[in-house]
Symmetry: C2
Subunit: 464 residues, 2 copies
């Protein structure tokens, strides 16, 4: 469909440039009419498309074409599409919309969607849009958006279906008939008491198959895991993954049912978290709109570049300390990056495994054991690759002493790399940081600096 839309946009451009050249021409009116017809066709083509598909299409268009598409959408579709867009694209589109358009789009959204957008839209606009909601909706928007990111509170929805336990199955079904459509991802209903306390849950499948006169309380399971708004979103996501839930109830501190989390929000959360972690590993602060201005991209990238440069200078000073040795045996200059590089590689393999184990909670009292094992892997790799590299160096430079220094430095640096690969993520985590962010830069610093130190130090001692 993207191709079709782009074809219409292309036609629009041609007509536009035609109209431009015809400013003083009598054919101008005709071109303007064709232009309008063309846009009507675009509008017709876009009507009824799922907001998630609109969002994906918009993300792939350059900024000016994005706006052309958004302008052909009904206000409600604009609102729903904003909800579906990735944050960095959403920010760009919101920047380009004018205030009236944004107001109209927000006015079409429910409390859950408004709360979801609260981070991306000026607070005044959110307030204005939620003014048209009922009291519960207004306070929902205010409450939900106040929870810290990374908590379940940010994922929860208001659209929970709760019924009193005294109702019979037949009465419950009647109540559902009167209540309008059930919200999506409703796999079970929650049972509450007179004070709105969560008392149990009944799957829709159970209601469907139950005797009409059975009271809900008698067919509800009473052991229902519930979340509170301050709970960790990562932990909640793990529970959804582990127990294959579709929805789970949210309660307040007293046990009152206040909302629910659904699997679609969990999937979005997991996707965002794994995206974020992949970008963080590469030293980026966040995702980037591919069509964002260069200045924004530079801002996103410089902090880790700066940090990396600092560590590179530190490693460079290690080399600087051995200038005299290098002048004597200039082959060292060519060989030393190999020692550093293979150390960085093995170390980063260990880092990746440790970060995964931390994410899966597999590391508790086993740090010592893991370090010993990784050191053994490093030593075994070190003997193997040390001998291979030593042999190649011997062929290239015809010096047995140089070749032995190279082999020994690689052997030792791979052990250093293995130990640092275990230690760096664990230390980052102990200081409350995300081990994925920066572990690689720190590890590479250790293996570079130690690689240069070991190789050039051994060379200074044994080569003459």
């Amino acid at each position: 469909m993207l191709d079709e839309v782009r074809a219409i946009i292309e036609r629009h451009r041609v007509l536009e440039s035609l109209a431009e050249r015809q400013r003083t021409d009598k054919r101008e009116l005709l071109t303007q009419m064709q232009k309008r017809e063309n846009l009507v066709e675009l509008r017709r083509r876009l009507a009824g498309v799922h907001p998630a598909d609109l969002a994906s299409m918009i993300a792939r268009l350059p900024p000016d074409e994005r706006l052309l598409v958004v302008h052909q959408l009904a206000a409600r579709d604009v609102g729903l599409t904003l909800v579906e867009l990735d944050p960095e694209i959403r920010a760009a589109v919101i920047d380009d919309l004018d205030r009236q358009e944004l107001e109209a789009a927000l006015a079409e959204l429910d409390a859950d969607d408004l709360a979801y957008l609260a981070d991306s839209v000026p607070a005044a606009l959110i307030d204005q849009a939620s003014a048209s909601l009922d009291g519960a909706g207004r306070s929902w928007v205010a409450d939900t958006s106040s929870h810290a990111s990374g908590t379940v509170g940010r994922l929860m929805r208001q659209d929970v279906v709760a019924l009193r336990g005294e109702l019979t199955v037949a009465q419950a079904i009647d109540a559902l008939r009167q209540g309008g459509e059930l919200p999506p991802q409703t796999d079970r209903l929650f049972v509450t008491d007179a004070r709105h306390m969560l008392r149990g849950a009944v799957p829709l499948a159970t209601i469907l198959r139950a005797a009409p006169d059975a009271p809900l309380a008698s067919i509800a399971s009473t052991e229902v895991a519930a979340f509170r708004p301050g709970d960790s979103a990562a932990e909640a996501a793990k529970a959804f993954e582990r127990y294959d839930w579709v929805s789970a109830p949210m309660v307040d501190d007293l046990g009152k049912l206040i909302g629910r989390i659904t699997i679609d929000a969990v999937v979005d959360y997991l996707r965002a978290a794994s995206d974020q972690s992949a970008l963080a590993r590469a030293g980026l602060r966040g995702a980037e709109d591919l069509f964002a201005p260069v200045s924004e991209s530079v801002r996103n990238r410089w902090p880790w570049l700066a940090f990396n440069l600092l560590t590179a200078f530190a490693a460079s000073r290690v080399i600087g300390a051995f200038e005299e040795t290098i002048t004597r045996v200039v082959a060292l200059a060519a060989l030393m990056p190999i020692v550093a590089s293979i150390g960085g590689n093995t170390g980063n393999q260990t880092v990746a495994l440790v970060i995964r184990a931390l994410a899966l909670d597999q590391l508790r009292e086993t740090h010592g054991r893991l370090a010993a094992k990784e050191a053994a892997v490093g030593a075994l790799n070190g003997v193997t690759w040390g001998m291979i590299v030593g042999a190649v160096a011997l062929v290239l430079y015809h010096s047995l002493a140089l070749s032995l220094v190279m082999a020994t430095a690689i052997f030792l640096n791979l052990i250093v790399a293995a130990l640092a690969g275990v230690a760096v993520p664990l230390l980052l985590r102990r200081t409350g940081r995300d081990p994925a962010q920066g572990a690689s830069v720190l590890l590479t610093f250790v293996t570079d600096a130690m690689g240069f130190l070991l190789f050039l130090g051994l060379a200074t001692a044994f080569l003459r």
Copy 2:
């Protein structure tokens, strides 16, 4: 709970070593009795624990303790726990079980679970276990496990609920009552005709609220997206994410309903894919059991180490070509890794963004535009960091010429890095490879080799 289980295991060990020392002692019998009692307590403690929780606990235990836990489980729990384990842990546990135990565990599993385990268990055992299934179950196990990995066929389940469209809602509910429990993640029923062709879908919520005498066909939506076994699992997962599905039907080439995919399988698939990609980026072939023997770990890690070493030697030859210049200006040896390192960093930032854009299908005809933008970001970063590094080099080495060479080399290498960062993942993808796997090693090779070439080449030309 892990702590409790480990305490019981600890007690078991103490009693065991006691029994060992008492070989010839009269108290042996007493100790043996205590040992048995202790294991009974462990068994009692483990009964009723969710298989997913058992799996997570087992993954955190060292191999001998894993077996002790598995031996206290009922055969059915062993089977279900095997299904829940991560592949690398599952392989280790299966290796440790004897054939009878494994047979007993597999005998308890249904066709879907057996098909899921087909990759991890010897084919003979799967055949033996599926012999006790009905004909449909047997051919399901054989068919499903024959699909290529990465296809929807590997995710599909047999437990789909299908009803004929002529049935009224009341008749359908009766049929469901007689059919036993609905399978989990059943959010909608599928409507088929006399030839089992998929004709539509009805959400449970709709059935619950419909008039009892309405025919299913009249309340079913007929536009149902269905998958075929050969479809890409990644594309199916995208559709689940986009449209917030809980389940989707699977059909054969004729349109006959053959099974379904459910969101829990999609979530597991997404988790495995993002894990795999994080490990691949670090140059690992796959996940590792933290307690696996050292030899297995070495096997998992050596291919990318070998490739990295090749590229490191190639970069080293670039330096070797400038030995004379380095002898003349030894400061070059200390500074050259900085040029290479900052190039590798900016390049890897671009690689991460391009890989993400490829995964989100955001890159179609926009390669040129993206390359131009990244080159601009690289140039801007290059001017900034080149000047900063040049200034620091001036302070350290008091040579304006050296400082200008350094600044120019960084400027040029950052542009090279940006272009390579766009090109490398695109080329890997065009050759049918996973851009995450190896992009970083290739990129670093380009930025290292070009960094050394630019810096030492400029130095040779302008420094004397």
